[in-house]
Every structure is written in C-alpha cells, then in structure tokens.
Amino acid sequence: MYTFSNKLRIGSFIAMGLGVIFLAIGFLSAPSTVEEAKAMVAAHDDGHGGGHAEAAETHGEEQGHGTEAAHGEEHDASHDTHLLHQLQNRPWSALYVAAFFFFMIALGVLAFYAVQRAAQAGWSPLLFRVMEGITAYLVPGGIIVFVILLLSTLHMNHMFVWMDAETVAHDELLQGKAGYLNPTFFLIRAAIFLGGWIFYRQYSRKLSLAQDESDDNSNFVKNFRWSAAFLVFYLISESMMSWDWIMSLDPHWFSTLFGWYVFASMFVSGITVIAMVTVYLKSKGYLEQVNDSHVHDLAKFMFGISIFWTYLWFSQFMLIWYADIPEEVTYYIARFQDYKLPFFGMLVMNFVFPLLVLMNSDYKRVNWFVIMTGIVVLLGHYLDIFNMVMPATVGDQWYIGLPEIGGILFFGGLFVFWVFTALTKAPLQPKRNPFIEESRHFHY
C-alpha cells in the first residue's frame, strides 16, 4: 500500500493556495467598464506601438462581429466593447485552459487504460493501479469543467460568442448552427459525455478491485467487454466534446480532424503522466516489479504519439494553408500574427524536442531522462490548449501572467492531491490479473 508522502501533500496544498490567490488577482484586476479597458490597453500600447488596431480587425471578423463592423459609427463602439470582453475573458480563459488541460490528462489516461484492457495487453497490468489513480481525477476535474461551461451559458463571461443571443441575432451562420449550438443542448451533451466517462471509470475500477478478491476471471472478462464498448463511446464523444468545448470558441471556423487533434494531445499528455507517476513511485521504492522495459514502452508511446500529434497538426494546417479560403485561414492568421512565440514554441516542444531526445532506444530506459522530457512535453501541450482557446477568447490581449500560472498551480496541485490520494486506496500491484505474470517478466 502506498502512503501519500507529507512533503508532496503539503506541496500540492501550497500550489493550490498560490493558484487561488493568483486567479483571484486575475479576476479582480479585470476591467469592468469600457473606459477601464481602454485605459489598460493604452498604457500597454505605449510600449508596443500601434500593433493592436490591425490585429483587432482580424478578431472582429473571426468572432462574428464582422456584420456589425459594416455599420460605420457603431464600429468604434463595438470594438471597445469587444476589447472589454476580451480583457474580462482573460482570467476565465486562464481558468478554463488549466481546468481543461488537467481534466484532459485524466481522460487521455482513461483512453489508454481502456485500450490496454480491450487489447488484453500482457505488458501493462502492473501499471493498471497507477492509471486508475490518475483517472480518479476525472470526477472532480470533469465537474469543474462542467461548472465553468455552465457559468459560461449563464453569461458570466464571453468566451463562447454563440451563447450571446444578441450576436446570434445578427449572424446568419450562427443562426444556421443554432439547432446544435444552443446552451441547453450544449449542457445536455456535456452531461452525457461526462456521465459516460465517469461511469466507465468507476465501474472499471470496481471490477478491477473485485478481480483481486474473486476466484475466477469473470470480473476480468466483464472489464474487457466494458472497455471495448467504452472505446466506441469515447471516440465519438471525445470528438464531439472537442467541437463543443474548444472548436465552438471560433463558431465560424471548423476543421474536420479537430477531434483527432485534441485526442492526440490528450493521449500523449496522459501517457507522459503515467510514465512520470510510475517513475516517481519507483524512485520512492514502490512498484518493485516494474522494470526499465515498462518505462521504455511508455517512452516509446510518448515518442510515437508526439509524432502522431505533429502529423495531425500539420495535416490540419497544410490543407487550410493550401486552400486559402478566407473563412478558414483567419484561424491561422490570428495565431501567426499574435501568437508567434507560443504557436511555434509549441511545435519545438511537442515535436522537435521529443523526436530528437527520445529517438535513441537507450535514453528511453533512463528514468530521469523520461521525467525531464515529460515536463517539456506537458508544458508544450498546455501551450497547445492555450493556442486553441486564447486567440478566440482574448485575442491579442494574451499574456502568460498571474492568472495563467495561477490556473496551472491550482489545478496541478488539485491533480496531484487527488491522484496520489486515490493511489493510497488500493494495493499498487493487482493480485489476480491473469496477465500479471507476463507483465512481471516483461522484457523487450
């Protein structure tokens, strides 16, 4: 049985506390009137020249204000409100990106776990308890994301422009999509997705624990069937979730492989966290049976899925770049103009770095090496979510400051606290998994 080390517990509480303070500062310093917003930007612009005006135009169009812009004198006023909304969105977006990122890790691990179960993999059963521990975060993480979405539908923020009835009234495209993109159906879908994922997680965990105590393999077989069924549900619901929760931030824009793209991001982040938690537990003397070959296999997945992520990133980018259709390229123009550093920095962190560092077979077996690579990959995929959300919600008013760091600290702390608490609840090594012998002797 694992005992939660005090140092780690206190660390997670400190992170959560700091996170709450930083987020609170972020929320309190957001402007509440148009004048305040203009003053903030004016002070900021002194140092940056006139870059803002040009960029604001792009965003006006992107966010469905394009039709209003044609009205001449209303133009300036609508830009000012738009700016106010962007600045008000910033703490919300910081909160949302971090909440989604850590939730996504748990969901990615759940998918990986279901794949191992459905494939009846022989190498991984020793790591099942680690994966179950991480997926425990699905419950609080999912509820927090749902609450943020619920508050968005209640107009606490302006992240999702299509939730604003006034905007929809002036926008033909959004009226056409209203049958799907409306607050009620949006929340119903979110509840179904989260309900399905959380149900599978809890039920599979129950069967996994029951298997240890039983004297036949019926629980194992049941788990196998549920996992296969879950994967079907997951692949559809995950794709729709990514349209709803992320792609609809830019309601005029769409990409047909967006679901896969988000999936690749959550899968590689999830596998990275499995590897990091495994190496951490091993370094503390737990998981004695896990050997370097298990870590090697996880690192191979990190390497492979990083390249898969890049493949999808590039496929999405190249088709839009080549076709050059105005409705589509605005998405990338906003990122190229205002998000150069995070956008290209993420490519280096998520592709070039793992490609070069994890290519050598021997390095994948060096535990501290896997941890170091994992940290970079996780930061890179945080940036990936940042790049998906921020251009639509805050436009060129982005900055990685207190609210963003606060979001990472708070949800990171909560994640660590919840996951390691869940790990103490059951023995770290499954007793009666039929493949446990194979997993113990796993040797590549």
Partner: protein, 175 residues
C-alpha cells in the same frame, strides 16, 4: 585456410538457448548459430555486440531530408517557378509547407532502403553469393551451433551431447 569446426544440431529453440548459455559459461567461443527463424534473445545469449544499424538509419534519414530540401528548392524555386493555387514560388520558406510531405517521404525512403542494403552488405549477402549455411536442415526445423576446434574435439563433443544436441559432427570449413 581451412579450419576445423564442430557443429551441433538441435531441434528445439529452448534447448538451443540453454545450450548456448551453457557453452558460453564454459568459456568456449561460439562461431555462429544457424536457425530457421529469429530466436528472441539469442543475440544477447551469444554475447554479440549491439547492432549499430539504427545509427546508419538516422544518418540515411538525414541524407534523405537534405536531398528533399535541395531537390525541391531546385525544381520548384530556382529552375522553374510556378504559381500554384495563387502561391507563386518565389521563396522557399513561404512555399515550404507544400514540400513537407516530400521531405517526409524521402526521409523514410532513404532510411528504409539504404538501411536494408546496408544490412545485406554487412551480413555479407549479395547476389550470386554461395550460401554459407552448413546444413540444409537449418532452413527447415533444426538449429545448428558451430564452434572452432582447438585440439579439444572430444571435450567439446561431450559438452555438446550433454546440452541436448541431436547430432554432433566435426568438419573442415573453408574461410
């Protein structure tokens, strides 16, 4: 020069693996093992050095990537610039995304093909080469272990019989 070798045949890969470990434990040098299929872990049991083919593969990949970059720059930018889809080919960097699939394909192509050729050459296998295989049965269902004999024929034969060989013979080998 002809050298004297002793050859032991086995009909099971598990028996072979144990035999290899035992012979190595007695500090005899195994010249070669012939098997009808790859036996997992045999290279480690025989104490063979790790293959360096991955390094050549990486270098060939880099070569392929370079060839693709230089080739596309020559074809599409320098030699005959075209305007495809409203994207005139005046600058390599601005047209680069269109060349990425080619870079990827040529990297894989060079790495894969040159690695296979390297593997064949390193294994001394080229067209019209006479097979080195000492016994036809190793292409069917037998495994053959070959050791050099240095005036210890009887001692080796006894050891090999002990490890479960189904046949042991001493022959002259051209090398």
């Amino acid at each position: 020069m002809a050298s004297k070798v002793i050859q032991a045949l086995y009909n099971d890969d598990d028996v072979l693996m144990h035999a290899v470990k035992k012979v190595r434990a007695e500090h005899h040098h195994i010249e070669e093992v012939y098997t009808p299929f790859p036996v997992h872990g045999l290279d480690k049991a025989m104490g063979l050095a790790d293959t360096r083919i991955a390094i050549t593969s990486f270098l060939y990949g880099c070569l392929g990537l370079t060839v693709a970059i230089v080739m596309m720059n020559y074809i599409m930018i320098e030699d005959w610039p075209q305007d495809i889809g409203g994207k005139p080919s005046f600058s390599y960097l601005e047209n680069m995304p269109a060349f990425v699939p080619i870079m990827f394909e040529l990297t894989v192509f060079f790495a894969a093909h040159l690695m296979v050729i390297t593997f064949y050459l390193r294994s001394r296998m080229w067209p019209f080469k006479k097979a080195e295989n000492p016994d036809k049965r190793t292409t069917d269902d037998h495994f053959l272990m070959e050791l050099g004999v240095h005036d210890n024929e009887n001692e080796l034969a006894d050891l090999l019989w002990e490890t479960g060989a189904v046949e042991v013979k001493v022959t002259e080998k051209e090398s």
